[in-house]
């Protein structure tokens, strides 16, 4: 007994110490008490707007940047975000919006998020953030600050979408599409579906960051525009050079870009005028690309062999029937010639802007390491060399089917 007593005491003491530690849940926050941010939009504040900042994170702004950003956040209102398709009853109460749109300004994104926190009661959480839209103005400035904050923050995931908008980004936070009750979730499903239908590459913020860090590749982002107030158009690729947006492409050039990269499935249709058969439309279903790189006279050269498989979608002026393999071959030949000029034009355009969105530098780096080590000592080196790279594109289209109409 006498030996047992101190042991029991020690055990009891241990248990009393352990009890609060094991049961204590410091981080518990009920879901109703969280302000879940679903989407963010970031705009630059026009220079003539001189409204003072709220001074939540600093007192004197003499030594800080004078340019400010305006951040608009879509916060989910607890209990109002519908979990499934709305039933007949809930459609009537559509006046109560499932999201709360809050707009704040700040010098940096983090500063703006702190200002936001100062204005709303519940602690904000970015864990469910799926869409960030930045205006073209922001993208044309440096993205380094945004990237730093978003990379550092453990709540942000690499599967978030970062979009560049034509015009003001905050307009996207106010759209009210009929297909989904939460606007950002609509934008999200739009992007996800465009990926699965071959309209856009899988270009999450993580993909963007990886491309941005690589020496032999420049990053690109989806470029979106608003049409008719509520419709969102994927208007092209916003491509970057030296961490800043350098230009944008036309929507059809997304298809061209995906063809160069051999990304499946094919999702773009092409309207073209053939020499003998009038205007036709072809639909691309599959893409396959073989890439070769070589060094000739101390300059990198790349050759792309693109194989497309498609269908004849429409024959616009059907005086001459398309009813034989020869006719299909004619369409294929004309398509190849015309799209080849489109692709060459796209490459020329990005070369002028020093933006290697195709990752040609990565090919050189991995296949010609000796050349790479000798000539490239940073991302800048490649981006300036990129404009003088020789690119040779060969395109082959195979039209397999013509639909249900025989001639």
């Amino acid at each position: 007994m006498k030996i047992q007593l101190p042991r029991t005491l020690a055990l009891l003491l241990l248990l009393t110490i352990a009890a609060p530690l094991l049961s204590g849940c410091w981080d518990q926050v009920e879901i109703e008490d969280r302000a879940l941010v679903l989407g963010l939009s970031i705009d630059k504040i026009p220079a003539d707007d001189t409204q003072k900042e709220d001074r939540v994170t600093h007192i004197h702004d003499n030594s800080l940047p004078t340019e400010m950003i305006s951040v608009t956040a879509q916060i989910a209102v607890p209990g109002r975000v519908p979990l499934g398709p709305g039933t007949g009853g809930s459609a009537g109460e559509g006046k109560t919006s499932p999201v709360w749109v809050v707009s704040v300004r700040g010098i940096s994104l983090d500063d703006a998020m702190n200002n936001l926190q100062q204005q709303i009661a519940d602690p904000r959480y970015l864990v469910h953030l799926r869409i960030i839209i930045i205006s073209e103005e922001i993208a044309r400035g440096s993205l380094a600050e945004l990237n730093d904050y978003l990379r550092r923050n453990p709540e942000i995931r690499r599967r978030t979408w970062l979009l560049v908008s034509e015009g003001r980004a905050s307009a996207f936070m106010d759209v009210n599409p009929p297909l989904q009750r939460v606007p950002t979730l609509y934008i999200l499903s739009m992007m996800e579906k465009s990926v699965s239908s071959g309209k856009f590459p899988r270009d999450y913020i993580g993909t963007f960051w990886s491309a941005d860090s690589r020496w032999g590749q420049s990053a690109y982002l989806p470029y979106v525009a608003l049409r008719n107030k509520d419709n969102i158009l994927i208007a092209g690729l916003a491509y970057f050079s030296g961490g800043r947006m350098a230009g944008k492409t036309a929507p059809i050039e997304i298809g061209g870009f995906m063809a160069m990269q051999g990304m499946d499935p094919g999702g773009y249709s092409t309207l073209l005028r053939t020499r003998e058969l009038g205007i036709v439309m072809t639909k691309t279903n599959e893409r396959f690309t073989r890439t070769r790189s070589y060094i000739k006279d101390g300059k990198p050269y790349l050759s792309y062999e693109i194989f497309l498989e498609g269908d004849l979608d429409e024959h616009y002026s059907s005086d001459i029937p398309v009813n034989s393999p020869q006719k299909l071959h004619e369409i294929e030949r004309d398509f190849e010639q015309q799209i080849q000029t489109v692709l060459t034009g796209l490459v020329k355009q990005t070369q002028q802007d020093h933006s290697d969105i195709f990752g040609m530098g990565e090919l050189i780096r991995s296949h010609h390491p000796a050349y790479w080590r000798k000539h490239i000592h940073g991302k800048n080196d490649w981006e300036s060399l990129y404009s003088s790279v020789g690119v040779d594109i060969r395109l082959t289209l195979h039209i397999r089917r013509v639909g249900l109409k025989h001639d």
């Binding site: 530690l21 981080d27 995931r157 599967r159 860090s213 020496w215 990565e362 780096r365 991995s366």
Partner: protein, 365 residues
């Protein structure tokens, strides 16, 4: 229960591999990429080979004394005082290693999981669990490891497999690189993770077939080595070398972006983190156990239970010493460096003495 030799070769291998897979798994790809860029998997592979050589040196010596642990037969080889000094140094190494490992665990947990939970609480609880389980004997120790290993290996493999589909082969080329100073430094840093394979020293006297110690270690080091190399391949393949260098925990980032189906099952990082906590526990458990065992041998306690209780505050204080993340990583690297010299040099010394003595015996007889 009377038979002390209860640890099978398979179970010994399980102890070693679950010990090796631990806290370092999260930042490992970054170290490898800093050393080798796209050749990071090669650097990691060389590290695994070196670790095995170092392990072989130790285990093959211990095999020759199947009845005793290293600390007992070293007394006969190099004399009591010198053996005691080395034992103290090894003990200190493992005490500090435990402290720093648990600190790195606390840092990750606070950054990623529990932002408001004080780091002291996470660290203390982890040490407390290790303390409680360190009071058991070696056989139970091996059973605990054997129980957790499939969980750890299985879930890490699932995460890697899910991520492999996003790997871009271009990121992994060129595979080979000219062995430069940086390359060897990276390979050396990789061996730090394998230092706890030292635990075989405790297991040999309890193994069913002590002669299989090298074999057990070979299985263990190549299993955990394969996992480490795969992790490097996956994260460099997904992110590219330059991006991997920017991430403080590339493996965690990889788990965070892994998805099963398109958005069908996302956020696998929650499961990954839980498993990672278990793998950290098995690592800390081993280093804690070694420290407690050595202390009990040095101070001649009846068993290591008292010793493990004494160690708790020491380790807790050590864990609280580094003032920031960078400092704890730097200390861990320095410790790894010291550990490598000790883990390689000490067996080498013992081997030399052993061979000299055997030679002398042969000559005299």
């Amino acid at each position: 229960m009377n038979n002390p030799r209860q640890i099978t070769t398979l179970r010994a291998a399980a102890v070693i591999s679950s010990t090796i897979i631990g806290v370092g798994i999260l930042s490992f790809p970054r170290y490898m990429t800093e050393a080798g860029n796209s050749s990071a998997p090669l650097v990691a592979f060389c590290g695994v080979l070196f670790s095995f050589i170092s392990y072989w040196l130790l285990a093959s010596l211990c095999q020759r004394f199947p009845q005793e642990t290293l600390f007992v037969f070293s007394r006969r080889l190099i004399g009591r005082p010198l053996a005691a000094i080395f034992t103290v140094v090894i003990m200190l190494l493992f005490i500090v290693l435990t402290g720093l490992t648990v600190r790195q665990f606390g840092d990750v947990a606070t950054t990623v999981l529990y932002k408001k939970t004080p780091i002291e609480a996470t660290i203390f609880l982890m040490l407390l669990i290790s303390l409680l389980s360190s009071r058991r004997n070696v056989v139970k120790f091996s059973y605990i490891h054997f129980f957790y290993l499939p969980l750890i290996v299985g879930s890490i493999l699932v995460t890697i497999l899910l991520s492999l589909k996003n790997v871009d082969m271009l990121n992994l080329q060129p595979v080979l690189m000219a062995p430069s100073l940086q390359f060897w430094k990276g390979a050396q840093e990789a061996t730090y993770l394998f230092q706890s394979s030292f635990v075989i020293v405790l297991l040999i006297p309890f193994m069913e077939k002590p002669g299989h110690a090298v074999r057990a270690g070979a299985w263990a080091i190549f299993l955990s080595g394969a996992i480490y190399v795969l992790i490097v391949i996956a994260s460099v393949g997904i992110f590219g070398a330059e991006e991997t260098k920017l991430l403080i925990y590339p493996t965690l980032e990889m788990a965070r972006s892994a998805a099963f189906g398109e958005g069908f099952l996302e956020r696998l990082d929650a499961i990954f983190i839980i498993i990672w906590v278990i793998s950290v526990y098995t690592t800390i458990y081993t280093t804690y156990y070694i420290s407690a065992y050595l202390l009990h041998k040095l101070l001649r306690f009846r068993d290591q239970r008292m010793a493990s209780t004494v160690l708790l505050p020491v380790m807790f204080i050590l864990a609280m010493l580094p003032s920031n993340v960078f400092e704890s990583y730097r200390w861990a690297l320095h410790l790894g460096n010291a550990g490598m010299m000790l883990m390689f040099g000490y067996p080498l010394l013992l081997w030399t003495v052993y061979l000299l003595r055997r030679h002398k015996e042969k000559v005299t007889s």
